[in-house]
Amino acid sequence: MRIYEQLFIVRPDAASEEIDALLEQLGGVIAGAGGKLDKIEKWGLRKLAYPVEKRQEGYYVLLQYAAGAEVVKEIERRFRVSDLVLKYLTVRIDERLKWLEKRKKQREKRAQRKPAAARPAAEGSPMPGEPVVKE
């Protein structure tokens, strides 16, 4: 099971019921394969950085779900078939989340160590390469 993030652009002139129907469909695909839909974020209408299919705007939707690779394949296939979706991007984020978690822990550990040891020494010379003259 992997965690994916799926950002896709729906045609701006699509009715909100159409979008909801699409989302429901996708939810069905994920649930059907034993995955878990973690969140749906509707960013709403945004200007595109460049025209896609001659459109300057798009309705962005972000999904996050945990599922296997075959689910991604199916969802992407549906996106390609559906004429609602202009563009999509799938990013696998579980390893990235793990890495971020690790970094955060490291930061906290270092922050705990610092107040005791590093602070007094650092105050002496705020800029490297500048000799501090003591009288």
Binding site: F8, V52, K87
Partner: protein, 98 residues
């Protein structure tokens, strides 16, 4: 800072302009050592969704600003450029603008 080294007072026109190292090159102008913004601000997550952050590292034409100009360190530049390319793919950022 570099201007304390020479001992002479420095006029406003000779202030660091924000380029490379703390080296005085040919009298007039100084170079200040640039620091990586991601290291300083402790930003771990360079995400393709963060359009505001990423667009700060694009030129007017939509090119990625090179390290030698922005001062970003190599590991962060790598993550940054990946994020920008992802954002371009989904039309959050431009490939190019006229």
């Amino acid at each position: 800072m570099a201007e304390t080294k020479g001992g002479k007072p420095v006029s406003a026109s000779q202030q660091p302009t924000g380029t490379d190292k703390a080296v005085v090159t040919r009298r007039q102008y100084f170079r200040r050592k640039k620091v990586c913004r991601f290291c300083v601000d402790r930003i771990d997550d360079i995400n393709y969704k963060d359009v505001k952050l990423l667009s700060a590292f694009l030129t007017e034409r939509g090119k990625i600003v090179p390290r030698r100009l922005s001062g970003v360190c190599a590991p962060h530049q790598r993550r940054l450029s990946n994020a920008i390319k992802q954002a371009r793919n989904i039309a959050l950022l431009p490939f190019t603008t006229r």
